[in-house]
């Protein structure tokens, strides 16, 4: 009898321990960004991926915003996605990318209109295009703000938060993360730390501009007490940047395989095109230099380990990969993706 009681209490303790995440072992909600505007629907491969990897949050870019001299902020690159059964089963977080120049040029008196327009269009697109009736739990704003645009941007966020019952989140680059005293804390409910794009692709010939561990460590080498709940966005994309001599000719998104038959590799990043070809409407000529950038799963593991070193995760965090694209995940089986998500809680 005593033995049984002892076993039961041990079991209860274990259950309590396993259901209660610690600071170091957070509960991870699995997220994925979908940034493509042109597609009308998710491909079968993409749909399978979100099913098999148990993605519970889908960050959908609805539109981007640019500034027109006479008209002010105008939406562009609206998504063409339409209703999808998978959207009904998952939390959809509408995302809006705002070019920083919008806040450079925008008069603060235009802000209220802009906020109203943004909320109006987000609601309308969710309802009319994606057939999502429920008010979104969260709306995410993506903008690479600078000290000069901070004031307008934060006013925009503040006003947006005041005008909707949805939670407002925004993306956070590593620089404003580390130097938040200088860059300010955006007036939002939570932030999404973007653990990639640390370097300009044009100025760093021998470095991977999508992700470079050494650069990453510069921002995560010490503990940062960021005062907002935080989620994490990790890179899962690749591109091929094409140059003729030093002159930029275009970007072909996706793995190197699309170009492979035409390439002669120089080193791990650079190749030279051997034949004339047309890909993605870009006429690529023999002799073009192609810089291929991608992030391996091994590197992503290092990224996560580095994050874990100095971050105190909230009890529940969302880890989201950028981005859901069948081309990228062809070379990453969902088991590997699963391991990456799990690594945060190990």
């Amino acid at each position: 009898m005593f033995k049984m009681r002892h076993t039961l209490s041990t079991l209860l303790i274990l259950l309590v321990l396993s259901s209660c995440a610690t600071k170091n072992k957070p509960v991870v909600k699995r997220g994925m960004y979908y940034w493509e505007s042109k597609n009308n629907y998710l491909s079968d491969a993409e749909e399978n991926l979100i099913k098999e990897s148990d993605i519970s949050k889908l960050y959908l870019k609805l539109f981007e915003v640019e500034y027109d001299e006479e008209l002010g902020a105008v939406p562009i690159s609206k998504t063409n996605l339409s209703r999808h059964s998978e959207f009904e089963k998952r939390e959809i977080i509408p995302c809006v990318y705002i070019q920083n120049t919008v806040f450079t040029r925008m008069d603060k008196y235009e802000l209220e209109d802009f906020v109203e327009n943004t909320l109006y269009l987000v609601t309308k697109m969710l309802k009319d295009d994606l057939y999502i009736e429920a008010k979104p739990k969260e709306i995410q704003i993506d903008c690479d703000w600078t000290p000069s645009t901070k004031e307008n941007y934060f006013l925009f966020l503040k006003s947006l938060k005041a005008k909707t019952s949805s939670k407002i989140s925004c993306t956070l680059r590593l620089y404003p993360y580390k130097y938040h005293d200088k860059m300010g804390i955006p007036p939002v409910d939570r932030v999404m730390l973007m653990c990639y794009n640390l370097l300009s692709p044009k100025n760093n010939e021998n470095k991977n501009s999508i992700f470079d561990l050494n650069e990453f460590e510069k921002y995560t080498d010490s503990k940062v007490n960021y005062p907002l709940p935080m989620d994490y966005a990790l890179p899962k994309y690749s591109w091929n940047i094409c140059y003729e001599n030093k002159s930029f000719k275009g970007v072909i998104h996706g793995p190197q395989s699309v170009l492979q038959p035409h390439l002669k590799n120089i080193n791990s990043l650079w190749s030279i095109l051997q034949t004339d070809t047309v890909i993605d409407n870009i006429y690529l000529r023999r002799g073009f230099r192609i810089k291929h950038e991608s992030v391996s799963n091994k590197t992503l593991e290092k990224l996560i380990d580095q994050l874990k070193k100095n971050s105190s995760f909230d009890d529940t965090i969302t880890v989201s990969f950028f981005q859901l694209d069948e081309k990228e995940f062809k070379i990453t089986p969902h088991e590997e993706l699963d391991n990456l998500y799990r690594r945060f809680s190990k």
Partner: protein, 761 residues
């Protein structure tokens, strides 16, 4: 065998026509035209060319036809390349306008001359263009919100207009404001901007554009019609909108009174002829009388020729009714023939009038001359057509010369009734050039004329070039004069199936001989038919078989190699995949236990011949069995058997008879019955005889169902249903019952009894 709903054995069509779904050609797909307007130039009249499709605004103009492009080029002292000007003002990103190293000669010129005013104007104009669409509403907030946005732009445009010193740019800014005011729905703003910045004296295309938007807010009137007619001539990209606004309920005579100059009057006449689908020669006559040098004359005249081509030549060549007409049924054929006769008369009338006038513009005059010859041809006076065209020299416009050369060839082929047309290199160049828009119509017409002159081999070679490497909308579809049907209906897009339907045994033989003897000395002409030589032998054998010439069929089939019989693309292997010498009481196309042995057409015909020979041999003790097997083969070569491909290249559930010579045999199994009867007559026991009668009854069932097609007005219930009615008419089953009452039930009702009775052979 496969029991398909629609079974297309069809020996593979390489044609791209049937890329997806059922399709029946109509409208533009069947309209015949050699005087294709796009053969000449894209002159900004495309939406108004004679066309069976719905029409809409032209999406893009050629740079040389766009007055705005020409105006900008003139602004730059005609220095930049015309296409670059066009691209810069309509296509390129505004950011590229600042690029002093731009490869675009217009952008380069503006930067080199440091013309910031022009660059800024172009950037501003580009930013306005999205608001010059009725539907542009970026935040999707509806009309009022958008109106506010447009008003902001109008304000900006007028501000820039006031501060601009360059007169052309000033006017352009004013026009942008006016256009935005139109799209903002502000009549007062449109009118005030017009009165502030524009007058009725028009000097360039911008003035005409401004007038158009002003007229949009005016009520219909004679004056407005006259002004619209002038805008129509001057503004190619406004033509569609102008034609919509033009009020044709006001009579031509009233409008003409208000027009002042001859050009104005001429332009008014054009507006009334513009969308008229009927005969307009009276309007063209008036136009020539009032304003013979009107630049729109060629367009209008061409439109008239296109009508006559459609009315007369579409039925003559493609054998479809004119594209702009309802489909006609057989009882309307007479009416259509009368109509064609009257249209030929119209062709003569137009030709006679053409002889009496002289067009002023050179291209129009050349068009006039070749049209006289062409109209003679259309009106069945080909000899005169040849005489006329031989008198015409060349013009500066190579496209018109090309058309003339095409006509010469067509007329010569038409005139070669008693002498074989000589296919030479000049002809080849014309016939090979599939880049020209009238290519497939031209090639087909030449082929048809050759065919009508009994030069069927050369016609077949020409037809074999149709619908190769072309898109759907450029394809040629035609009917067979003998009205033999095809799987898809009564039209053809692939020469092979056309030959199957239309050509006689003699014509196929002649074609094969022409190919094998290299009669045309043209690898181009025989490119496809040479590659199909074994298919043509198969076709010859099939046609012999249809005529019940078994020996000749075997001889033709023997020329087909095993490689061809086994090629996947030709479907022989997949459709002739059952044993034709076996059957039972019911098996038609369903897979049976006998289908372990398959044969080629040659092997089937040869084996069939052997079985008949053995049956005919009076010394053969098993004659009845050999006849029975031969009968099985004939049954299987019918519509109801597993080897129907011996006689046909396609099979359909809804069409048994297509007009072929052996239609009755195919539908009624006459030869099968004949040999079952011979088996009956030579049978050596009663079981054999009973089985033969049963099988004759099976053939009779098919014959009766063909003779007595389902009649919706008949009451079959009293027979127990349609098939019971057919059964009641089966004389062989009656005979079976009479002669073999003890065997009758088991043979009729028990499918399994076949094997038992067959074992008696």
């Amino acid at each position: 065998m496969k029991n398909w709903i629609i079974c297309i054995a069809v020996l593979v069509s390489k044609s791209l026509v049937f890329a997806c779904g059922p399709w029946y050609p109509y409208g533009e797909e069947v309209r015949f035209s050699l005087f294709t307007p796009t053969l000449f130039v894209d002159n900004g009249y495309n939406p108004f060319n004679y066309n069976a499709d719905n029409y809409g605004p032209e999406e893009e103009l050629n740079p040389e036809d766009d007055p705005n492009t020409l105006l900008w080029r003139a602004y730059c002292q005609n220095t930049p390349n015309l296409t670059d000007v066009y691209l810069a003002i309509y296509k390129i990103d505004p950011k590229e306008l600042d690029d002093s190293n731009s490869p675009n000669t217009f952008v380069h010129y503006l930067n080199k001359t440091n013309d910031k005013a022009a660059i800024n104007y172009l950037k501003f104009a580009k930013s306005c263009s999205r608001y010059s669409q009725v539907t542009y509403d970026p935040w999707e907030r509806g009309g009022d919100h958008l109106k506010k946005q447009r008003n902001k732009k109008i304000k900006a445009a007028l501000k820039k207009c006031k501060s601009e010193s360059n007169e052309m740019l000033k006017k352009r800014y004013a026009f942008l404001a006016l256009r935005l005011a139109y799209y903002a729905g502000s009549e007062s703003k449109v009118n005030s901007i017009f009165s502030d910045y524009f007058t009725d004296d028009k000097t360039d295309v911008i003035d005409y554009w401004a007038s158009y938007f002003k007229l949009c807010y005016q009520n219909s009137s004679v004056e407005r019609n006259v002004e619209l007619a002038q805008i129509f001539e001057k503004c190619p990209n406004k033509r569609f909108a102008v034609s919509q606004l033009f009020d044709r309920t006001i009579s031509l005579e009233k409008t003409l009174i208000e027009a002042k100059t001859n050009r104005e009057k001429g332009n008014v006449i054009v507006m009334y002829a513009l969308r008229n689908p009927g005969k307009c020669v009276n309007l063209i006559e008036r136009l020539v009388y009032i304003d013979a040098s009107n630049p729109q004359l060629s367009f209008l005249f061409l439109r008239e020729i296109n009508k006559i081509e459609d009315w007369v030549l579409t039925p003559k060549y493609n054998l479809f009714p004119p594209s702009m007409s309802d489909y006609y049924s057989e009882d309307q054929t007479e009416q259509y023939n009368k109509r064609i006769a009257s249209d030929k008369q119209y062709s003569r009338d137009l030709m006679e009038w053409l002889k009496t006038v002289r067009f002023e513009v050179e291209d129009a005059r050349f068009l006039q001359e070749i049209s006289i010859a062409y109209l003679n041809h259309i009106a069945d006076n080909n000899t005169e057509a040849i005489t006329q065209i031989s008198k015409i020299g060349n013009t500066k416009n190579p496209k018109l010369n090309y058309l003339k050369d095409q006509l010469v060839l067509l007329f010569n082929v038409d005139g070669s009734r008693n002498s074989n047309w000589i296919f030479d290199d000049n002809n080849k160049a014309l016939l090979q050039n599939h880049q020209v828009p009238n290519y497939s119509n031209f090639l087909f017409a030449v082929g048809r004329e050759a065919e009508y002159n009994n030069q069927t081999s050369v016609a077949a070679c020409l037809f074999s070039h149709l619908n190769k490497n072309m898109e759907h909308w450029e394809s040629e579809a035609w009917k067979a004069p003998n009205q033999v049907a095809n799987l898809y209906g009564d039209f053809f897009t692939e020469y092979f199936f056309y030959l199957d339907a239309q050509y006689t045994v003699a014509e196929i033989k002649e074609l094969i001989a022409a190919i094998e003897n290299d009669q045309f000395k043209s690898p181009w002409l025989t490119e496809f038919v040479s590659g199909d030589i074994e298919r043509l032998y198969d076709l010859l054998g099939t046609k012999h078989l249809r005529e019940n010439e078994l020996e000749k069929a075997i001889s033709a089939f023997s020329k087909v190699s095993d490689k061809t019989w086994n090629e996947e693309k030709y479907s022989y292997k997949s459709m002739l995949n059952a044993n034709p010498f076996s059957t039972d009481f019911n098996t038609e196309h369903a897979k049976s236990k006998y289908d372990t042995i398959t044969y080629t057409k040659y092997q089937i015909a040869k084996k069939l011949q052997a079985y008949i020979a053995k049956g005919d041999n009076v010394n053969n003790p098993n004659r009845a069995k050999d006849y029975f097997i031969a009968a099985n083969c004939y049954l299987n070569m019918s519509y109801y058997g597993n080897s129907w491909m011996m006689r046909r290249y396609w099979w359909s559930t809804n069409l048994i008879k297509s007009g072929q010579v052996d239609d009755e045999e195919f539908a009624r199994c006459i030869l099968a019955k004949k040999y079952y009867k011979k088996a009956y007559e030579t049978a050596t026991n009663e079981k054999q005889k009973a089985l033969c009668l049963r099988m004759m009854g099976r053939c009779e069932k098919y014959a009766q169902s063909d003779i007595n097609e389902y009649d919706w007005d008949m009451d079959y219930d009293k027979y127990g249903g349609y098939w019971e009615y057919i059964f009641s008419k089966n004389k062989h089953y009656k005979e079976l019952k009479r002669q073999y009452p003890d065997d009758y039930d088991v043979l009729i009702s028990n499918c399994e009894s076949f094997s038992d009775y067959y074992a008696s052979f």
